[in-house]
Symmetry: C2
Subunit: 267 residues, 2 copies
Amino acid sequence: MDSIGVFDSGVGGLTVVAALRRRLPAESILYLGDTARLPYGSKSPETVTRYTRRNIEFLVERGVKAVVVACNTASALALDNLQLAGGMPLWGVIEPGARRAAEVSRGRVGVIATEATVRSDAYPRALRRLRPDLSVVSRACPLFVPLVEEGWHEDDEVTTRIAERYLAPLLAAEIDTLVLGCTHYPLLKAVLARVAGPAVTLVDSAEAVAEVVAEGLAAAGLAKPEGPGPVHATQHLCVTDGGESFKLVAGRILGDPDLPLEWVEVV
Amino acid sequence: MDSIGVFDSGVGGLTVVAALRRRLPAESILYLGDTARLPYGSKSPETVTRYTRRNIEFLVERGVKAVVVACNTASALALDNLQLAGGMPLWGVIEPGARRAAEVSRGRVGVIATEATVRSDAYPRALRRLRPDLSVVSRACPLFVPLVEEGWHEDDEVTTRIAERYLAPLLAAEIDTLVLGCTHYPLLKAVLARVAGPAVTLVDSAEAVAEVVAEGLAAAGLAKPEGPGPVHATQHLCVTDGGESFKLVAGRILGDPDLPLEWVEVV
């Protein structure tokens, strides 16, 4: 009844759930991974908007008090067109990530994201609105999500090669800040940090969005009090397709190999 | 009214359309690419079966005379559960590909495919039914489809590295025949042939299925006569999500950069 609803196309949004748990340990979370229709990053704005609308309806029908769109593609393409009934709070990941980058950058920001997010121009627009002096270079990295799903994300030679190729134009443009504009990418942080080098600050929107949600819930009077007593927060995970690989990666992100998953149909 | 209906999760099935055009130049083709829900290869049998059923219904409602499931994953997971009303012919790609491999192999067959196809064990079962003496080794190659979609498929260093890694266990098992068990993989033929070496015969199910369709239509009395007069065959392409990359790759496969696409909704 009083959970925060979080959705993503797949498993990547759980990096946002992990950040929310650290920042707001008293809050319960209802997660929806739309695994039957992932990935969103290669699809059109119309299709992504339709899926986003239905996923949010699902969370609202389940009685959440606020919604976090933990998918960069859905945030970039669909959020402007959506408003929740009764003024229920709704957050995406673009704005918080852009805000963090604008705070730390010395002038040149690189953005890596899915094709659809890059094509939407959502990050450059948000960054320039916050700091018109920033120069922004973007690059779509369509292989990163399947590399994470393949499990080739820790210190892997092929992944390093692909990261070098994707980051080359951004490093040539001498970026000082790199926005990880897809919720899967924090799982590649070690490789990306090594390839980008020590002069580049990595910005992970998961941490940034957790901060914004904490402020927003407090401002709306919806935050759960964090008393000194025991915490009864729960995490409930729903998926539209019950793959084993989701369970595996989810267990790694949330530090619990025995996460129960509920299969749900969202069309 | 008298087209052959062909569907795939995306663009890969057009390799089957190209093979059908070469083998049956008088036949018209109605193609459906379920791009809004691709890829199928990482999804569960239940989800793939549901999508397959609806895609076939769409083609039948449009009045096709026969259906080709040009997606290996859908053929492997869903075909056994489906039968068309009125005994309309229905073909998948597994059986024809397995038949061709069983004809050419000297004893050791390798199969590369999506995760779902490999997990279904459909190729090894079909191969052993045809030739119980065959030894079969399979390997899921989840990065091949996104590599093709990225356009990194001709003489690319990263693609070659990934192919080497995927094929290593098959080459160690001394395969003499390699089944390209996903309709996207023919687009990687040059890289795969180089990595596999001259001792390995590549089997492309697209060619094999075109042969089976030609025989089947003739046997059912449904084939169009190939007269000496002009040919009026048409190709009509439908997609559930209108991406630009589909158009690009489709143009390359069918040799026509200006293919008109019809957007359709299939849920």
